[in-house]
């Protein structure tokens, strides 16, 4: 069976790949494109570790078929930092110690960036509900939420 040829944009760069019809975007990113920053935790959309942004929308890449990426814009953790410059979310994660093992971190950062883009001044509750689809087993979420709220303050140029 011939593979499907997909032309897409990943982190702002033109990209193309071949895939089978049933392959998920997560699989192709990790196994075919070598972009292992996006993680697989469950493949059933329950853990958020595979979070990416497609056409500006936060989605679980395990439940997006690779073929759907045709002509769309895909953004992953690898594209979050601006060249050498970490974003406030990334920086606050480091300063707050909002990661222990780090496996959930890429998914959280992609999701948190999206949260703050839509809602630059979330309450703690809003942040928690927005991020409820990202599971963390190490931290109990406390430092993650604090990092996100402080990143929001930094982005609003207020004292954290």
């Amino acid at each position: 069976m011939a593979k499907i040829r997909v032309e897409t944009t990943i982190n702002g760069d033109a990209a193309e790949f071949l895939c089978a019809g049933h392959q998920s975007l997560l699989e192709v990113l990790r196994d075919d494109l070598g972009m292992t920053g996006t993680k697989e935790g469950c493949t059933t959309g329950d853990c958020g570790a595979c979070s990416v942004v497609v056409d500006g929308r936060l989605v679980p890449s395990c439940l997006v078929l690779a073929a759907e990426a045709e002509g769309r814009a895909v953004d992953t953790i690898e594209g979050v930092a601006d060249g050498q410059k970490l974003t406030p979310v990334q920086q606050q994660f480091l300063e707050h110690g909002a990661l222990q093992c780090g496996i959930c971190t890429p998914g959280f950062i992609v999701a948190a960036e999206k949260l703050l883009e839509k809602n630059p001044d979330p309450t703690e509750e809003e942040a928690r509900y927005y991020l409820a689809g990202n599971l963390c087993r190490c931290t109990g979420y406390d430092k993650i939420i604090k990092a996100v709220l402080d990143a929001a303050a930094v982005m609003r140029e207020e004292p954290a």
Binding site: K39, E78, I103, R137
Partner: protein, 775 residues
């Protein structure tokens, strides 16, 4: 601990047993950004499933559809013909290791059982038990091949609960199983593998002395560690019979040993590189994939990558035990607890090895109870073999004991913290399992919890507050470290402990503290089994303690070398050179020193290493006989909706003795993470089984771990009662945090509803039914 020469100007506190440390740290206790953090926030850090090699095949296990069945025959011929399939293996491809019915060695390791967990041999013993494995060019081909393996089964009735395992007519999992250990003797075919008893005093006399007795029967279900990263490995069996393994594991040396033993290979030929690891909590100590991947790789002549799906993690890896516990406490009316009688029955899963022993050791050890008996039984059932889960056994036993202590406090009209203070163990008291406690911080932690603002926060209707305590003895075990000085005056610290929670940064901090340089100038790394000396697993809350000791030891040796080099440069005796704040300093007013300032920085000495004797490297190994126990007390406020039984956690505080917090942020993180796991265990987590022994909720959708919106901010208080066994006073912190929460939450719900819950999880239907029955 090994005798490192004391060359620092600060008095080392290893000999200070008063529990007070005079040392002023410069970097210990600070919060630098962890060295591996940058890679983790950018997605660059590579975990177990992120590795591959050219030509790597995908390895997939084939798993049993029956919870209990004899394997009469396996025919893999059709599977082998599927295009893309390069190897198919069963237990026949592993050397036969006999089962033994008594523990082998001090850790009770049964290699025959370990091997049969990887690939079933005579019987499958749980639904999902792997009995074959396939390596193919695609995962789909491997799965298709697996479906074509023909097995002749003799299906047997499954044993799915403790009650069922102990029934007179219970099916017996292992013919020839005998019960080892002390306690009432058990005759005939049995599913009880082991009995443990700790006793002291005179139980009957104790209870007859008691003015008040409380008792209860408590039950808990199997729960999973819930790490977000499924197990993963990449194995390359090379043409010269050597094997390279990359895997997410809590102990690379453990993997090396297990692969060697279970595949009948020479350990010397095996090199294991631990990748970054996405959570373990004890569950990534056992070995599930690597021996099979090794044989597949050998047979196929190609590298083999094996990763578990989330469903496989739930069906095929070790959760912790479900339990049934009978606990009875007797106290005088003034609150002194005088007697305790406990029987703990724990599910081991399909092979012996539940943590019932540790449960017996920890359950009431925080309290001075002169007359006691704790009888634990390890019981096999047709479920996955249990694995360690963060302070194994202790949360379970403490759920029962701390619930009853709460009942006692209510009956006596006493504040629950005061009652615990009255009965708390102190230095010199004996733990129930024998040894006397050294300096410990239980009373300090209780006092700190009582003084915490949450203890006085206002509670409204349908809200309640709970308190509970717990402890974990923490481990020592073996560790090695190597420290080397680079030419620019920076240092590299190498150890063999996979970094689960930030330990690399703590190793760097300890080395930096000793050397007197900025922690940013110390590079910590976790080595593979060829690059570092032997290290026991990352687990047992021992890395900051024991591996830290090795790091400090090795660093102090490096400092001796640095002093010697300075002495050479200055042409003076070694003992006129001291090490202060990153510099060799001339002391004793030696007037022969030609150096202009009488001091040499590490950088300056490093530049001259070649000329003064060569590279500076030092290694140390430790095997401390004991560690420092850590006590914790938790506070929890809940609100229970009386119409639906839904519980919300409003406030939560963890107070715990860390001895000395090397990196407070990471210590707080351990406190919060353990509490969150305990809250999930208390409220919503449990394996659900159908009548045939199949797990019904093998996904994160229905195995309900706490999500971000379920929890409030978790406040933490680090108490520091230094542990004299460690140069800085460190106590392990990682496991104690999961011990108190089960009872803390149950006690809070009892306060909110008036109902004492004896079974976990306290999910909404359970709570609503209890509320309705109470009316």
């Amino acid at each position: 601990m090994s005798a490192a020469p004391d060359n620092t100007t600060d008095t080392t506190d290893t000999t200070d047993t008063t529990g007070k440390s005079e040392r002023k740290f410069k970097q210990i206790g600070s919060r630098p950004i962890r060295h591996d953090g940058l890679d983790k926030v950018t997605g660059r850090a590579r975990f177990g499933a992120d590795y591959t090699l050219p030509g790597a095949l995908q390895g997939v296990f084939v798993r049993s559809p029956h919870a209990h069945a004899k394997i009469l025959s396996i025919d893999t011929s059709k599977a082998e013909k599927v295009p893309g399939v390069k190897a198919v293996i069963t237990a026949e491809d592993l050397p036969e290791l006999p089962m033994t019915w008594v523990s082998q060695g001090p850790a009770g390791v049964d290699v025959g059982a370990n091997q049969r967990v990887i690939l079933a041999r005579e019987k499958v013993l749980y639904h999902g038990h792997a009995f074959a494995a396939v390596a193919a060019t695609t995962r789909e081909a491997a799965i298709e091949a697996g479906e074509l393996i023909d097995v002749e089964w003799e299906v047997l009735p499954p044993v799915l609960s403790i009650g069922a395992a102990l029934a007179d007519d219970a099916p017996i999992l292992h013919e020839g199983q005998m019960t080892e250990g002390a306690g009432p003797p058990v005759e005939g075919d049995t599913n009880i593998t082991n009995q443990i008893v700790f006793e002291g005093g005179d139980l009957d006399a104790g209870f007859s002395e008691a003015d008040i007795v409380v008792e209860g029967v408590f039950e808990t279900e199997m729960v999973h560690q819930g790490y977000i990263e499924p197990h993963a490995c990449l194995v390359n069996a090379r043409e010269d019979d050597t094997v390279e393994i990359w895997c997410a594991t809590q102990g690379a040396f453990g993997v090396k040993g297990e692969v060697a033993t279970l595949t009948g290979s020479d350990p010397q030929t095996i090199k294991v590189t631990p990748t970054e690891i996405g959570g373990g909590f004890g569950g990534k100590i056992p070995v599930y994939l690597e021996p099979a991947a090794t044989i597949l790789s050998r047979k196929a002549g190609r590298p083999v990558k094996m990763t578990m799906t989330r469903e496989e993690v739930f069906r095929g890896t070790g959760p912790t035990s479900g339990s049934k516990m009978w606990v009875k406490l007797g106290a005088k009316s003034d609150g002194t607890i005088v007697a305790a009688d406990c029987r703990l029955d724990f599910e081991a899963g399909c092979f012996r090895g539940s943590p019932v022993g540790a449960a017996c050791m920890t359950t009431l050890s925080p309290y001075k109870i002169p007359n006691f008996r704790l009888l634990g039984r390890d019981i096999v059932v047709n479920k996955p073999r249990v694995a360690a889960y963060r302070a194994p056994g202790a949360p379970i036993g403490s759920f029962a004991a701390e619930s009853l202590i709460d009942d006692l406090a209510k009956k006596l009209g006493r504040d629950p913290i005061d009652l615990r203070l009255q009965n708390a163990v102190e230095e010199g008291d004996r733990a129930k399992y024998g040894p006397a406690f050294g300096p410990i911080g239980f009373k300090q932690v209780l006092e700190a919890a009582k003084a915490h603002p949450q203890y006085k926060a206002e509670l409204r209707e349908n809200q309640g507050r709970g308190v509970a305590a717990g402890f974990w003895f923490n481990a020592g075990m073996q560790s090695s470290a190597t420290v080397s000085v680079s030419q620019d005056g920076s240092a590299v610290v190498r150890t063999g402990n996979p970094d689960i929670g930030g330990s690399r940064a703590s190793m760097a901090l300890m080395c930096a503290e000793e050397l007197g340089i900025d922690v940013i100038r110390v590079r910590p790394m976790v080595g593979d089994t060829d690059s570092v000396g032997y290290c026991d697993v990352t687990g047992g809350s021992r890395v900051t303690y024991a591996t830290g000791m090795a790091v400090i030891d090795a660093t102090r040796q490096v400092i001796d070398h640095l002093r010697a080099r300075a002495a050479t440069i200055w042409n003076v005796e070694l003992d006129s050179v001291e090490w202060q704040d990153g510099n060799a300093v001339a002391v004793n007013g030696s007037s022969d020193i030609s150096s202009d300032k009488g001091s040499l920085s590490l950088e300056e000495i490093a530049k001259k290493m070649g000329a003064t004797g060569g590279p500076i490297v030092a290694s140390a190994s430790v095997s401390p006989p004991a560690a420092g126990p850590a006590f914790g007390v938790h506070l929890c406020d809940v609100e229970v909706d009386p119409e639906t039984g839904v519980t919300r956690v409003l406030r939560y505080t963890v107070v715990q003795d860390a001895g000395k917090a090397i990196h407070p942020t990471f210590v707080e993180g351990q406190y919060q993470g353990g509490a969150a796991q305990g809250i999930g265990w208390a409220l919503n987590e449990a394996y659900l089984w159908d009548e045939e022994g199949k797990v019904e909720n093998a996904s994160f959708l229905d195995y309900r771990v706490p999500v971000a919106s379920d929890l409030p901010m978790i406040d933490t208080m680090i108490v520091e009662v230094p542990n004299p066994l460690h140069p800085y006073g460190v106590r392990g912190v990682g496991e104690t945090p999961i011990v108190p929460p089960l009872a803390t939450v149950a006690n809070a719900m009892c306060a909110a509803t008036g109902v004492r819950f004896h079974a976990l999880p306290m999910s909404p239907p359970v709570v609503l039914e209890a509320l309705e029955n109470a009316d």
